[in-house]
């Protein structure tokens, strides 16, 4: 009580003092010199501020921009019949260097840790993108294959709704991974709709042949992984054309064609150019073609997408050639993802059917996923694959592709 009244008394006194002092201050007429001094002080303050502000803008306005992005994932993997392991999936930094609106360099490295603990580094892509005009960009270098959508648009772990890629879209699968050459791509309005395209010329793939008994050889896989030399001298040409009839739908077709040669035969040191001795000798370039179609449709909280890819390699009937029969690889998937309205939970379902010349890798897979979106780019994913592989005709036992797989993954895109 006491302190309270003391306090209010002090306040009253203060207020009175200020009330008396204020007019008094105004009364004390400032001299010209005082005013001049104040103006000078203000002026030097403004000059200092201006300098500071100008210096502060300096970094904001360079002609060169440097930016890193990328993604990483870690997790826990449990395969049917095996013990589970903690794993580091990959660390994939992306580097961007841009000079004004003329050119951009983009490069993605992929660091992975092998089961033996060794770190492997791969150059996922490296391109110089020259922005020619509003409708065309020249992309030169090693690029993600423009065929279809999974490789170029969906494979980063923070984007893929499931913790694993659909079978056939990995390495040696039906869908090409990357290629090395020149690409022109862009978007344009088309009859009131959006459209986009990519066309390319590249070194193209190489073919692997394998043998089970050392006598009969057959084609094992098409390695479309952006080779830095065109061993057979045969270029591949291809592209993708997509149209968006409405903003929420994109449908696209892809084709690629050219020649490809067996450059790698099981038991030989790769790569052996044609003309050298051994099973690679006498190989001639075979017809190589890829067809693809893909779509995406999204509405509110749901997205539906699907993709079909077929890779075909022709016969080589010249004398003395191993694995003279051609082969076809084919895969398709459809995926539905649904995010519960106003929540961080998302469910995903994907069905894939991959068919290759080899029973041991053929697979039908239903994958189911439950995702928790901590943020839009930091996602906790629980994925389970129900896998159905084929049976080995000689032993009557199911191939390892038949084993189910569960993955818990933390994926972060940055």
């Amino acid at each position: 009580m006491m302190s309270c009244s003391c306090y209010s008394l002090t306040r009253k006194l203060l207020v009175t003092a200020i009330a008396v002092a204020l007019p008094g201050m105004a009364v004390a007429e400032p001299t010209n010199a005082d005013l001049q001094g104040q103006i000078d002080a203000l002026q030097s303050q403004v000059t200092a501020l201006n300098t500071e502000v100008n210096q502060a803008t300096e970094w904001k306005n360079p002609n060169t921009l440097i930016h890193t992005a990328g993604y990483a994932d870690v997790g826990y993997v449990k395969k049917e019949g095996q013990d589970g392991s903690f794993v580091v999936g990959r660390f994939a930094p992306i580097f961007h260097y841009q000079y004004r609106d003329i050119v951009m360099l983009e490069a993605e490295l992929e660091f992975e840790v092998g089961e033996d603990g060794e770190t492997e580094v791969a150059l996922e892509y490296l391109t110089i993108d020259w922005f020619l005009n509003d409708y065309a960009v020249l992309v030169a270098g090693k690029f993600l294959s423009p065929i279809g959508q999974f490789r170029q648009n969906l494979h980063p772990s923070w984007i893929n709704k499931l913790a694993t890629p659909p079978p056939g879209f990995g390495h040696d699968g039906a869908a090409p991974v990357s290629d090395l050459g020149l690409q022109v791509r862009g978007g344009f309005p088309f009859a009131g709709m959006r459209a986009n395209y990519a066309i390319y010329a590249s070194n193209g793939p190489e073919i692997n042949a394998e043998t089970e008994d050392g006598i009969d050889y057959e084609l094992d896989g098409v390695a479309a992984e952006g080779f830095n030399a065109d061993v057979d001298g045969e270029k591949t040409f291809g592209g993708r054309f997509a149209i968006l009839p409405v903003a929420s739908v994109e449908v696209a077709v892809s084709v690629a064609g050219g020649k490809a040669t067996v450059t790698n035969v099981e038991g030989e040191e790769p790569p052996l150019p044609p003309g050298t001795v051994g099973p690679v000798a006498n190989q001639t370039a075979r017809d190589y073609s890829v067809y693809g179609a893909d779509f995406v449709w999204f509405t509110g909280n749901m997205s539906v997408r699907g993709e079909f890819v077929k890779t075909k390699v022709g016969n080589d009937r010249s004398a003395g050639v191993t694995a003279s029969d051609g082969a076809t690889w084919q895969t398709w998937y459809t995926q539905v993802a649904y995010r519960l309205p106003n929540s961080k939970w998302e469910g995903a379902l994907r069905y894939t059917d991959y068919d290759s010349p080899h029973d041991s890798v053929d697979i039908k897979q239903a994958a189911i996923g439950l995702n928790y979106l901590v943020t839009n780019t930091f996602i906790v994913k629980l994925t389970h694959e129900f896998n159905e592989g084929k049976t080995d005709q000689t032993t009557g036992v199911k191939y390892a592709t038949d084993d189910d797989l569960t993955v818990l993954q933390l994926a972060y895109g940055f």
Partner: protein, 208 residues
């Protein structure tokens, strides 16, 4: 009398001086600030903000979850959007529009645009179809995750007009929400009466 006159005179002079000097300082600071914003980068050429919000809403969640303006700095949006131009197959103009939208929307709510207060004379329905539909959808249910469903009965339309008008005007991001509502839906020309009209339309068309 002379003393009082002089006193008044000098106080007025002093006050006027303070006002002019203060005004000068504030103007100086403001112009530098505005100048700085406009000069953040002199490339690419400025795009169209509301076209940009549309291109963004329609394209940027096709492959991955929506990436909101507040995630990156102005210069980072240039490289990222050029990168996405290649991925998404955008035209150069769409790219510039998105950059303009991103750069203007990553500032603190309220500090965004220098609003040009002029009524466009559009009806609430016209405004909705021009400015809001890209994010809120034809049926008011939201065009992508993070936008509210206006039609849900216990939804946000239960809030008062005053609160909703404030949130539309200044922009708004609720706790933990992945996406922000841009001030005036990204249309700086939207006047106060325009906002009232569009809110009335939203209530009429989607409210329960």
């Amino acid at each position: 009398m002379k003393f009082i006159n002089d006193t008044i005179h000098s106080s007025v002079f002093f006050a006027a001086y303070l006002m002019v000097a203060g005004g000068f300082l504030i103007t100086a600071l403001l112009t530098t600030a505005l100048f700085t914003t406009a000069q953040a980068s002199n490339y690419p050429a400025a795009g169209n903000f509301s076209e940009g919000s549309k291109v963004w809403a329609e394209n940027c969640n096709r492959c991955h979850n929506m990436r909101g303006p507040k995630e990156l700095r102005d210069d980072q949006w240039i490289t990222t959007t050029f990168h996405m131009r290649l991925r998404a197959g955008l035209t150069g103009q769409e790219t510039r529009d998105v950059i303009t939208f991103m750069q203007a929307s990553n500032t603190k709510a309220g500090a965004t645009q220098v609003a040009v207060e002029s009524s466009t004379g559009a009806t609430g329905k016209e405004t909705y179809e021009k400015t809001c539909v890209a994010c809120h959808g034809d049926e008011g249910k939201g065009a992508f995750p993070g936008t509210p469903d206006f039609t849900s009965s216990d939804g946000i339309l239960a809030k008062s007009d005053a609160e909703l008008i404030r949130n539309i005007t200044n922009g708004f991001q609720s706790e933990g929400s992945p996406m922000a509502m841009p001030p005036k839906g990204g249309n700086p020309n939207l006047s106060e009466s325009g906002i009232k009209a569009v809110l009335a339309y939203i209530r009429e068309a989607f409210g329960q």
